[in-house]
Structure formats: C-alpha cells, structure tokens
Amino acid sequence: MTDQTTNSIAFVADGNIPQSPPPARETGVVKWMRENLFSSWANSLLTIVAGLVIYMVLSGALPWMWNGVWTTSSLSECREVLAGEVGGCFSVLSERWNQLLFGFQYPQDQYWRPTLAFVLLFIAGAPVLFFDLPRKMLAFTAVYPFLAFYLIWGGTIMAPIVAFLGMGAAAFVFQTYGKGSFALGFFGAIVAAFAVWIIGGALIPEGASETAMLQAVPSRDLGGFMLNLMLGVTCVSLSVPLGIALALGRQSDMPLIKWICIIFIEFVRGVPLITLLFVASVMLSYFFPPDSTVDLFLRVVIMITMFSAAYIAEVIRGGLAALPKGQYEAADSLGLDYPQAMRLIILPQALKISIPGIVNVAVGLFKDTTLVSVISMFDLVGMIRGPILASTEWAGVYWELLGAAAILFFIVCYGISQYSQWLERRLATDHR
C-alpha cells in the first residue's frame, strides 16, 4: 500500500514555478495595438483607412515643406531654384512678412510701435486672465487702452491723455457717489467723463498731430494680422460690458427696457455679420451728422461690438437663468438693492458659469474679423487676396500664404480655447 502510494506520486513539487512572462500578444505594444487598433475586423479596416489618409496627406505635404524655398524674391525665381521639384515657395512669407502682419501702408520705420503694443497687451491682459497675479497690475491694464491707442495711431499725446483723464474722472465720481446711490454714481460718472472730454478736446491745439513725437498714422493705413487682432481685442472687451447690460435688461421687470433689449438682441442675432459690415461701410455714415467724418475702422468697431454684444448677452442670460432662484431671494432678504445684489451676489456667479460661452463667442468673433476683407479693408485675408496675390512677383502662390494665415489663426484660437478649458477647471469650486 505504502509502496503503491510512493510509486503513484511520481512528482512532488518542492518549490514555486517561476512566473512565466505573459504571452507576447498580451504585453506591451502588441497588446496596445490589439486593443486599440485591431480589436475587430471593422476596427482594423478603420485603422487601415485612417493610416492611408494620414500617409497620403503626409507624403504630399512633407516633401513640399521640406524642399521649401525661403530666400528668393519672386515666384519665377523660386521656380528656377526648385527646378521642377516639389516644394513650397515660402520666400513669399519671408519677403512679405511685415505686410502680412502690419498691412502695406503702415510706415515701415514705425513697425516697432504696434509690436510694442502687442507685447504690452500680454502684460495688460495677464491680471485679467490669471487671478493669481498681484491686483496692482490692473493699474497698467487701465492705462493700456490709451497707451496702445497712442502707440498705434500716434499723433498728439494730448488725445489719449484727455481720454484717460475723462475715464479717471468718471471712476473718481463713481467711487465717491456710487456707494450711496448706484444710479447717482453711474450717471454722474458719465457726465464727468463727457465734461472732461469736451473741455480737454477744446484745449488740444489745432494741428497738434503734425508736430507730435510719434508720427500720426490714419486708420486706413492699418492692416494685416494686426488689424484682425485689434478688431478682435477691442470688440470683445467693449462687448462684454454691453452684453452684461443687455442680458440684465432682457431679464428686467420693466417691459419697455425688456423689449428694447429683446428686439436688439434678436435682430442682431438674426442677420449675418456681413450685412452689418455693409451697414458700417455704406449705410452708417448717413446716420452721423452731415459734416462729420467717422472713419471706417470706428464704424466697423461699432457694428462688430453690437454683433458680439448680442451673442454675449445670450450667453450671460444663460448663466443668469442657471442660478438657483434662492440666490436672488437671499440677496433680497439681506436687504440689498438691485445694483448691490447684481454686483455682489448674482453676476459673480452668473459670469463664472458663462465664461466658456463668452470665450466661444470671443473665438468666433476673432475668426469673423476676417470678414472685413469683404468690405475692402486689408486685414490678413484681404492682404493675401489683394496686394500680395495681385502683385507680379507673387501671383499664384496660394498654399503658402493661405497656410500661413490658417496657422496664425489656429495658434490664437486654439490658445484661447485651451485657456478657457484651464479656467473652467480652475473655477470648478462646486461639484466633486
């Protein structure tokens, strides 16, 4: 019996078998590919099709970019250098880069001015976009619009100084009287600003622009990507306060105010931006006093601001509607009046909810600034389709120019949307 037992147990394990590695198809790259690229026949087919698409695009684009010519002065010269090979004539970018950025009429020795304004824009914008920065930097943000105006347009320094003093007076009046009664402070501020502007405007001597330190540049000489950026930044920053006012007006209990706001918003949202730009270019001047000349840039800024204000108003209305009713009632029960309740309780929360929407509107608006090329302003697209493609040297260089425009817009718009996503994560204080 014992004998049989010892014989029947032929092998007794006296240790652990070393762990064998998982099968090759279950590890590393192979596993990842099996799971993510070839998990079923349909998936494999998709992968192959996608791979083919990517290969076709890259095989066309890479040699074209790699063989690109950067240093010739005309298309025919560039074709000679390429000698029949595939390659891009990127020399149009290196030669006309300044025109693409600043337009073809901005004085060349003054390019440092818009460049400086652009760099300062980041310093001015930083405290608005990133709240961790010291609040004292906001002082520079307040000065920036006037500084940028002076840098870009030049002329007499008195004009921006008077404008700044007017805003300063308005702020002072609002600080002093706004505490007691919002309406008094608000309307007082408007009166103060206009008083300073009218008095100051009368004090600026005639012809001060000719002898100014910075050469005056008229608006019609602005162009290129600078024009897109200027229109985008100006119109977005002007339309946010206007949009807040319109959104509050649309929620108002006063029927007249409510209906004015509704009609304005729905009207503007119902028509394409191009028709509004037509208004700016051919119709708006009929509504100004007969002997005044309001330049096209200002007219376009007015119309685009109205346009984006209507969209921003709808976004903010969404934010206001998303607030629980208890917030309004709590503000009332604390005895706050309407301006206080809005400023301290409602708007901070509603604006926080609306930030992604506002950024979307801003990105859309920045893209829409290319439409001004239709009313013959020479923004980036207008420069490409107009002076550059019409010139004898560069007629026919489409892809390099359009590609450069696309990349410039992509960088800015993608950057803004990434910022918005970061901000959303940053502000997510409520759930989870």
Partner: protein, 410 residues
C-alpha cells in the same frame, strides 16, 4: 388689542418717483423712452439731412429696373434683361440651395466625425479630434478661399480633356471635374406624363410619399401582429416592393434618360453644371460646420449616462436595440437644438458667397445691385429683412421641436 387704523393717505410726493419702488420703474422707463425717442430723432434728422445733401431719397422703385448683369449659377430662368427684383429672387433661391445642401452634408460629416471620435480605435479617434480642432479654429472664410483655390487653380481646364493625349479624363465618362465646376449627368424624362420636367419630378415625389405612408402602415400592422402573437412577420420583402416597385414602374413609363456632359467647343455642354463657387461654398461650409456638429453629437452621446445603457442591457435588449430605443432618443434631445442653431449659422455664413462670387442674395442684392443703383439703405434693409425672416422661421422650428421633446414632468 389695539385696532388697526387706516393706513395713512397716500399723498404723492415728487421724490417718490426716485425712492419708491412702485414708481421708480415707471420713472426709469419714461427716461429710457425719452432717450430712445431722442436718439431716433437725432439719427433720423441726420439721415434726412444727409440724404437731402446727396440728392437721394428712400425709394424701392429701382427693383423694377433692368438689372443688366448675368448670373451663371441659377435655378430659375434669368437673363440680364430681367429686373433687379428678379435677380434678387435668383440670389434668394441660390442662398436656399447652398444652405440646404450644406446642412445635409454638414450633418453627415458631423455625425460621422462625432461618432468616430468616440470610437475605441485610438488612431481614428485622434484623427477625428485633429479634424475637429483644425476646422473649428480656422476662419470659415479661409476655408472657403482654400477650396475655391483648389477648384480654380488645381482642377484641369476643359481643354485638358481634349485630343488624343488629353491630360485629364472624365470619371466613368459621366463626371468631369474642371476648373469651371463639376459636370454631372442630368436625369430627365423622355416621355413624361406632363410637359414640364418639374411637374414630372413632383409626381415622383408624390409617389415616394405614397410609398412612405404605405411602408408605415406595414410597420404598424407588423407591430400589431407581434403584440397579438408574439412573432413579428418578416416585412422586408414587402417593404422592398412598396419602395421599389412604384418607383421603377414610374421611371419606365416616363422613360428616364440621362443626359451626359460632353466637350463641345471650349467647354462642356449638357448635364448639370455645379459651378466652382457653389462647390467651394458648399464644401467649406459643410466641413467647417461639420466640425461643430461633431462636437455636439459627441457631447450628446456622452451625456446619456452609462446607467441607461447598462439598464437596457440588463433588460435583455440587444446592442442595436439599446442604441435605437434607449441611447439615441435621449441623445437626440440634447443634440438637436444646437444642431438647428448650426443650421442657422450655415444660412448666415452662406452670405460669405460674396467672397468667391457665388450669386447668393448677398452678392446680387447686396453686391452688384447695390453698387449699380447706389441704393445702399434700401438694399441693406431688404437683405436684413430676408435673413431675419429666415432665422425667425428656423428658430420657430426649433421652439416647436423643443416643446415636443421636453421631458414631461409632473
């Protein structure tokens, strides 16, 4: 207890206009009305003075004058001897044409890209994310110009199709891709029941509607039978017959023939010509808006909570049923409102036609007519009236839809 005396007589004081909430809103509205009326008067006065100085008046009589310009892409008869209003009508139809075409293709692109972006295939989902980001972040005007450039600068000229050593060939001998546009075969009826081809097509549409109703009846009948007996009859042959038989018979009776484009002289003749500007506008609006729709579709599908899918699976539904009966109805409620506002955007963005010379209403009424007659105010007002009507109609559709799918809560 003390008795309540009558409240003090309300004596109206002037300061109550500001301090009493009952009157304050009236004060504000009166002020607002005053400001509005004053600014309108100011603007109106300026307008009258400017018009008088320019020797103009507001008059829509120019609409009946001869337009004098040609339109190459048109849906209805038009010659340069027709009136400006006729030209505007041609433009209006062209706007509707490109808007409808772009809405259909943008939806197709958007749904495909949105669904594929959620695919578990890494390469495909990354590729779709790339597509969405690229197209959303570059202005639609640049896309329109890029595709227009492809159409005009890359496609071969009609003469490249000529001769023995032609550098370009027609696809299937039926489609010609040239730098003037794409030529496709034109279907028409050799011995139609009506004289006019349009009426014949209308008849086809009526027959198709009839088939649709019949197919619905069959489905209702099949469902009733399934509920009675537990077994669903196979309706596929019946449905095929209902859809195909009347259609094929009609086509045979009316003698459907195809007119192929052919190279005659310097250009292609016959068939349907889809002009380069129309293609550029159509395709650019489709891929641009498709990227936005893809994001809406993705958000809509992701918004349906996983519990819904799991619950449906726990009830024993097959995956296709889970999608059709549980996920899609809920996702569509989220997807459709932004989808309709994307349609609105397409309609408004179609006004960019003016940049590539497609004769939509902005290019005819707001472009050439405006420049020829100098009637800026009238033209822009008519243009705005058209777009306002269009967008109000689309919003109306959206509101009706929203009301119909609203969650019915207690």
């Amino acid at each position: 207890m003390s008795t309540l005396t009558d409240p003090p007589k309300d004596s109206f004081r002037l300061s109550m206009l500001i301090n009493d909430t009952r009157y304050r809103s009236l004060t504000f509205q009166a002020l607002a009305f005053l400001a509005l009326a004053l600014s309108f008067m100011y603007l109106g006065n300026n307008l009258i003075a400017n018009l008088r100085a320019a020797g103009l008046n507001i008059n829509f009589g120019f609409l009946t004058d001869t337009a004098g310009y040609d339109i190459s892409q048109k849906l209805v008869e038009y010659s340069n001897q027709d009136s400006h209003s006729r030209a505007a009508f041609v433009g209006l139809l062209n706007t509707i044409l490109v808007a409808v075409l772009a809405c259909v293709t943008a939806t197709v692109f958007g749904v495909i890209a949105g669904v594929l972006r959620l695919s578990n295939n890494w390469l495909v989902s990354k590729l779709m994310a790339f597509y969405v980001e690229i197209f959303r972040n570059i202005p639609v005007l640049i896309w329109i110009i890029i595709i227009f450039t492809i159409m005009t600068a890359v496609m071969p000229a009609p003469r490249a199709f000529r001769g023995d050593n032609a550098t370009a060939t027609m696809v299937f001998d039926a489609f010609a891709f040239t730098n003037r546009g794409i030529y496709t075969p034109l279907p028409w009826f050799a011995n139609g029941i009506f004289e006019s081809q349009a009426l014949n097509w209308l008849l086809v549409l009526v027959v198709a509607c009839g088939s649709w109703f019949a197919a619905r009846r069959v489905n209702v009948w099949a469902t009733a039978k399934q509920e009675a007996t537990g077994e669903r009859p196979n309706t596929l042959p019946m449905l095929l017959g209902i859809w195909l038989a009347p259609f094929l018979i009609l086509m045979l009776i009316m003698g459907l023939t195809w007119e192929y484009p052919a190279l005659k002289g310097f250009n292609f003749q016959g068939g349907i010509k889809i002009g380069g500007p129309l293609i550029a506008l159509w395709f650019a609006l489709s891929i641009y808006t498709g990227a936005f729709i893809a994001e809406n579709v993705r958000a809509g599908i992701q918004a349906v909570s996983k519990g819904q899918t799991e619950a449906a699976a726990a009830l024993g539904l097959r995956p296709s049923k889970v999608m059709n009966l549980v996920v899609l109805p809920q996702a569509l409620r989220i997807i459709i409102p932004p989808l309709i506002s994307q349609y609105l955007n397409i309609t408004k963005n179609s006004s960019l036609a003016i940049a590539v010379g497609y004769a939509d209403i902005t290019a005819t009424l707001g472009g050439i007519t405006l420049n020829q007659t100098g009637r800026a105010i009238e033209c822009v007002l008519l243009l705005m009236a058209f777009y306002l009507t269009a967008s109000l109609l689309i919003s109306l559709v959206m509101n009706v839809y929203n009301a119909s799918v609203k969650l019915k809560e207690r």
